[in-house]
Symmetry: C2
Subunit: 393 residues, 2 copies
Amino acid sequence: MTAFDYNAGFDELKESYLFTEVREKVRKFLDVNGGSVINLGVGDVAFPLPRSAVRAFVKAAVELGDNVRFRGYPEENGYAFLRKAISERYLKQGLCVGEDEIFIGDGSKTDAASLPSVLGKADVLVCEPAYPVYPDAAAINGNRVYYLKGSKQNGFFPSPADAMPKPYVIWLCSPGNPTGAVITRPLLEEWVRFARQTGSLIIFDAAYASFVEEGEVKSIYEVDGAREVAVELFSFSKYAGFTNLRCSWTVIPREISVKGKRLNELWKRRQSVFFNGVSYPVQRAAEAVISGSGEAECMAIIERYKRNARIIGEALSARGVWYTGGKSSPYIWLECPRGTSSREMFKILLEQARIVGTPGCGFGPSGEGYFRLSCFLKESDASVAAERLYKTL
Amino acid sequence: MTAFDYNAGFDELKESYLFTEVREKVRKFLDVNGGSVINLGVGDVAFPLPRSAVRAFVKAAVELGDNVRFRGYPEENGYAFLRKAISERYLKQGLCVGEDEIFIGDGSKTDAASLPSVLGKADVLVCEPAYPVYPDAAAINGNRVYYLKGSKQNGFFPSPADAMPKPYVIWLCSPGNPTGAVITRPLLEEWVRFARQTGSLIIFDAAYASFVEEGEVKSIYEVDGAREVAVELFSFSKYAGFTNLRCSWTVIPREISVKGKRLNELWKRRQSVFFNGVSYPVQRAAEAVISGSGEAECMAIIERYKRNARIIGEALSARGVWYTGGKSSPYIWLECPRGTSSREMFKILLEQARIVGTPGCGFGPSGEGYFRLSCFLKESDASVAAERLYKTL
């Protein structure tokens, strides 16, 4: 027995991580009842890796086995070829993001969870319902968490007018997980103004940005003044089906300063201690999917997921169930009919429709009474799920 | 400008991470003087990935592109097939390590740096000279660091008798980085006893364990009572040339308790927030190199590195230069002749021999006057390096 105490943050976490809990319940149900379920729970992708990714990945792997072309430790913050491709991708959107402002990581979750640890005692502001990693990581990092309540009324994007005016690390996720809602440009401008006035730092989680429709906000850098106060996270997981491969990027503009030091430099120093970089084959695969035919392949797959969302959304509408998301997002966020609780809803859908979804309450108290359906599905599953939802609700 | 302070731990770090600093100096030298150098600096491998690894990796990548065999998010703590293979590998050494005690990670550095953050305010004990990540991560994690001095006299493995008897997180690295020294069984037993008496936790970094000779300590679990107080880290980087691919494992025995909770459970919970697992192709490649022909391939490569170390060691001996390591380790740790400082030695070898090594002082004050040479080299480079060292020293 050691004489240590554990990090007090663990006491603030729920018994088990939401998705683990859901997985356990489904396993038990299937053990008892047999058969199968359609999984609209965890936000994992349904289609295999794009061909362009596999091709680039295999080619790079062969290089690593070659005497001449072998490479050892990856470039710590990402290979220049990938950072260049990402910078050019921003340029196509009319945005200037320097290659030295881009950090390649093994998943947005890792960077998201670790970013606040670079700061001293900072308070964290979460617009809930939210991805559980934001508050959980804050607890483990020793940050105090403040919440703003999302609701049907505010479109699940609270306004900074509801926050006490002081410095926070502000989490904004658009399109939102779990709500699928996209932040409006005027509201995002308000948030950037708030951050500049209070000395806050925004972490803009754009993991689902490739799902937004033309004209909607794709990147926080579309807003003037964001470069001084906003970090942006992008993930290859949902964009290109990289949930297994693990690749992401984090943008930290040179302009963001933290007590006289550049946040960009602090993060670089932090990564040199805590991280060894992403492998060459993964970065080559990532490069392949943000250019040429790779990009087209990814966008075609995203369209298929969005079509699923439409089909499921139509079933809900036909039953008069209110929902948001599903248009610029793989997620549908529905209001449980007739005052059903989130967990009851989980039970009903699992037992009566053999559909697995995620109880909204798992994303924060304002998620109670709501339910998340992920549309990362094969088309046949989406049709069956829509039918079963129509019958059950 | 944000209103935040940065994590105070950053002020305790040296200006730039040692290996980054060395890289910069070499770059400047080559810019001015042209030509090339032989790099015995960073501990990166010289040979390409073993064939068995490439084969398994490519096969798995193709599965990820297949409609039926595609897999999404990796198992959070590692696929069962790899944890089973590792458990069996321990069994062959006569050690019982359960599959649920093994966590697959993307590099020992990541796990090493993050482990102390799971505890409350813990003091950290580092036997220096040491891998800079131990004290640097402790600083960022907010841990106070105590040092024990390694020296020629104690074979660069201080005894617990020199430590104040209180609970610490104790770092032990054997074979040592940078010294290449292997801890003796009696001394390791002393450390385990000390940990049990004081309620300390030992983190045994076995990243170089595959270099030790028959009969020497390979794993801390060879010592009775270690399971209650010791975590063990193993890396595929130096064993199988995975510095680019990124794979490692961490053993956390069920017996280790931290104020009534199992450290094993705490770490699992921590990983669910901060990590998304290691990709399937990498884990298949890792499985391939710890069994059958893969293992033989790796051991053959290790023998080649050790032969390099012998050649370089002979050149040093012929010049009467004292050194340790190089026998059960890819590193040679030499005493700079005639009272030369570590940094002078770096300059002399770079400018006169065009050899890059690592100044011992970068690993802690007791490293001053010493110098690390890495023997991860092709044979031809090793011979030339040995010759140049003989001429220059």
